[in-house]
Symmetry: C2
Subunit: 260 residues, 2 copies
Amino acid sequence: MKVTPQSIRVGTQLLPAQGGFLLASRALELLGLAFPVDWAEYARAQGLTSPEKDFGIGPEPTLSLPEFVRLGFEAQTPQARRWQKSAHKLLARMLAGDVRLSAEIAEANPDPQAGRWLHARLENQNARKLLMSTVARHGGSAEVYGQLGSISNASVLGMDSATLRRERGVKSTRDGLNTEELLRLSYLESATASAIEGRGAHGNAAILSIHRSLAAQERRTWQSQPRQNQPWQNEPRPIGAAGRPVVAGSGNTGSPQQAG
Amino acid sequence: MKVTPQSIRVGTQLLPAQGGFLLASRALELLGLAFPVDWAEYARAQGLTSPEKDFGIGPEPTLSLPEFVRLGFEAQTPQARRWQKSAHKLLARMLAGDVRLSAEIAEANPDPQAGRWLHARLENQNARKLLMSTVARHGGSAEVYGQLGSISNASVLGMDSATLRRERGVKSTRDGLNTEELLRLSYLESATASAIEGRGAHGNAAILSIHRSLAAQERRTWQSQPRQNQPWQNEPRPIGAAGRPVVAGSGNTGSPQQAG
């Protein structure tokens, strides 16, 4: 069995981890909890179901991150109370939209693809905002925003956003997209904004006509590339497939999109 | 008094907010808590110290985000328990380095400068990693990494990183930098990586000599720009100044860098 050492930062400490599971002995120690004499009994009592993992000296008990968080809030040791305080601060920063925290979270992700995805996701927000403000300045009315989105989705994703959210198990459409899909949507929406501006288009019909024609062109360009696989043309990729971000506790916590 | 309506998303709900403070009546309602008949008495008992704010009908009590989080964890209503569950999930995602959460946090920030800062911060990580791997391939030894950083900091920031962290009240140097400073560091470190590669430099002395000379050049380029103000040349900007990210609970929670 291949041993791949990893670690997960909790506050100032780095805890040994394997595939998203924490080494239970070290995680309990951080919370000031004694490692139980009978792990099986303890796990049953606490409802812990994470698999044993090999950290170099044979299989050892682990905690999933949701299990760790739950134990952390239940424990009443001084260490656990300290951890709870820091957790409170993190939640307050999250609610405030603290982008330093965004950066810290991204840094905690060992997958270089995850950084690429985040870049693409942020760029996608910018492109979308630019298109929306351009449309508003060129006499687009309320219903045109949804129609533009429908055209983009049908062209790039090959399905509507409700289908995509259902099939990929996400609450927000853009969170369900991979890096390439985000890039294509940003490109298409920027191109449309630029064309609306350049041609001085005015009103819903003119705007939609430009967007439909650019969507068709973008699709032809993209499909003419010799590529090894284009899975998104036929079927959505499962969570965690290539180009998708690493998602918290995937495989053991259900959809992280339920949180909030 | 100018009324600037805002809102902060908590789960699926948008709570009215002013300058980072939640309208207390709506925040308590979300947690299933009755609004107290005597607010002053309740605030004293709970240790709530947030100022009243005008949400359009005259001054009303508010909660800071840390106060809201604390009440949310103390309350035992079904609504509060639901909120606690979602908070647990968010913390697990944070520990896992879930970049979708990074994007959600950034989206929650209304300041367009915040997005720009995050981009610069992520790019800075990439530039730094590239320089480190280039140095390793060109015979740089352990101590050269710190020396490169010292040269960059002295040149771009005009001070060493310990001074910067102390003066700006941050734990991590890069979190204390503004967008321009991040951009300059990324630029300088990329230029050095490229020059090491291009000239086939080998060993600490050659690497440091390249970096020193490029740092001086970059500084001259930057300082030759006609600019309206260059405050970082003389004094660090206070937290929250132009080009700095909006930080959770600034002004009422102390340094967010203490969390973790």
